[in-house]
Symmetry: C2
Subunit: 372 residues, 2 copies
């Protein structure tokens, strides 16, 4: 038996987070059992884990070893989650650990004793049964903690650059740019010679990115934000943005500043605005309020959702492998993740912890160690 | 000398509409002179003509034969029109008339005396000098008034269907659906067996479309709008909308209703919402306020501007010719336009007239007859 973190949303709107005991299965020939040692809490895990619950309603119950936490999910989002009502959901997109049991196949046997990283859900567990071909053995000298975040953030950052190239843009804009992901993107762009306009929300985040060599950093909390952003867009020619905020006015402000930047060099009046396509992809929802697009952006623009997995599916296996290979070769440099706290499964369900990681605040990053 | 309608926006924000006398040029070998008899005032002409001026500030001056009208353009849109400040702009996307003079080339000579329709701007004029290959001779028995609107609305409606096919959708949504364009789209879809969900804003518009055979009509002024829309989307499977309104909550409501309609048949919970791509193209700006997108639509969605000319450029000459041929063969049926008023150039600049066509209200459609 092993402990596994579960998220259960009742049709009444009550969310229950708990640790349940699950039997460890016998692996089939092609499977292995991984003793989990590290799994990050990424912003992309929070939707499934917390179901957009109101964190001010959090209540603790159960024991220290097997805590139970409840919270209320607001009416307005509850209906949209109908398909998960009453289902006990396992959580955790990615993680790493040691293969402690293996099926009879040579591929599975070859992994025995190895430290591997994985993507595929249900990683907040002590023992993960998984197909051998879904495991990536970590290079010698790499710990589970170092390899646990090898997929979501690195592949997302690389895919942003890949999207830029495929859609014919020459520079990028990124919001919430001081995040783990943002720091990776900054490193990639510096290395590859791509101009990146980093948008942050606090002076200390701007300072952090500048200390990491970022050339273009604009702070949305300053009175000169729009002006600074427009200047950076005019210099870099960036016409593609990836926005983690999602709600509010920021996406529209970016499009609007792009249009002004493009028109600074316009030779003649076009009643429809510039003919240059401007695109903002919303890949996160740090702000869940409505996205507001102001209408002074001409007609050549788009806003849309962007998700890693559909993108990878679209580009195909060969290109995905190329991106994966790059991550593997730069795991301790470009793609190094930094954690502010390492917690056990039980510690991840304290009100204290949930209140901090539930905010998805830049600079706070939790790593769950289920073996702790 | 001939009269030509001009729109002049000063850097101060004063807009001046007037008729100026321009000399009629000698046509070069490849050009003809067309005596203009008909040019519609389309919603797509209003941006250039009125520059988003505040119509409550309209003032009349000049004479009845050569009126001058002024109005004030709000500060917030003025900066975005910098490129036209101080430039006297000719107006009118399309029109038709009789070729009264022709250059020496055989192509130009062949048009002499013919009634032709044209696209290319500056059509609110008495004498239009234009390249012969930009003229489409109207079929015998077709008047200038019947052929004047052959391009913008018909080609836009056909291009919406073309976009639907190219982007892999199987049915369409259209807003402001009782417009001239909307009625054409309804006829095309009925003829081609495509399901079209028509969104209107008034009961009488719903009745009109139903009398024209429309199967799916929903009225946004009724309390059951969202419910009715969702039901129509579930039945038709429409995942692409063309929206003429642009601002406000409608585009977001459509996406949201599409997501609910798709999830009605969903088999299992996806934390990212449905994987089916939902798209709304904003091709007009009847509402110039911010576009608000509510965030319960999953991640597979897009909103963007859509313009006829870039679309035609993208699909290429052969496909454009195919669409043009269809318009020519159905000019008096599918693509017939209806006008509520025919006015002279001077009458088009009365406060009375501007106040009516400036609203771009469904059911009101002006035709300018510069020979009147």
């Amino acid at each position: 038996m092993a402990l596994e973190l579960r998220s259960l949303l009742q049709p009444t709107g009550e969310l229950e987070l708990s640790l349940v005991e699950v039997p460890t299965p016998e692996p089939t020939a092609d499977e292995v059992i991984v003793r989990m040692e590290a799994a990050p809490i990424n912003p992309s895990d929070l939707g499934l884990l917390l179901a957009a619950a109101d964190l001010s309603t959090l209540k603790a119950a159960g024991t220290a070893a097997q805590p139970v936490v409840t919270a209320t999910v607001p009416e307005r989002v509850l209906a949209g989650m109908k398909a998960r009502h009453g289902e006990s959901m396992a959580v955790g997109n990615e993680g790493a650990g040691v293969v402690v049991e293996a099926g009879a196949s040579p591929a599975a046997q070859a992994l025995l004793g190895k430290t591997v990283s994985m993507i595929g859900g249900a990683m907040y567990t002590q023992m993960r049964c998984i197909r051998a071909d879904q495991c990536m053995p970590l290079p010698a000298g790499t710990t589970a903690a170092e390899g646990a975040s090898w997929f979501v953030n690195p592949m997302t950052a690389l895919s942003m650059v890949e999207t830029m190239r495929r859609e014919g843009h020459k520079a990028l804009v990124h919001t919430a740019a001081a995040s783990n992901l943002g720091q990776m993107l900054n490193k990639i762009c510096l290395k590859d010679g791509i101009d990146l306009v980093n948008i942050v929300r606090k002076p200390e985040q701007a300072a952090l990115l500048k200390s990491l060599g970022a050339k273009y950093v604009v702070d949305s909390s300053t009175p000169t934000f729009v002006e600074d952003l427009t200047a950076a867009l005019a210099t870099t020619g960036a016409t593609l943005a990836f926005d983690a905020i999602g709600g509010g006015k920021l996406a529209g402000q970016i499009l609007s500043a792009m249009e002004v930047a493009i028109n600074r060099t316009a030779k003649e009046y076009s009643r429809y605005g510039s003919a240059v396509h401007k695109q903002v992809y919303l890949y996160g929802s740090l702000d869940r309020s409505n996205t507001e697009i102001v209408r002074n952006i001409g007609m050549a623009w788009g806003v849309g959702g962007w998700l890693l997995f559909p993108f990878l599916q679209k580009i195909g296996a060969a290109d995905v492998q190329r991106l994966k290979d790059r991550v593997a070769s730069e795991l301790k440099t470009t793609f190094a993740s930094h954690y502010t706290r390492e917690v056990s499964l039980a510690e991840a369900l304290t009100l204290d912890a949930i209140t901090v990681y539930g905010k998805a605040a830049t600079g706070e990053k939790f790593l769950i160690n289920p073996s702790k």
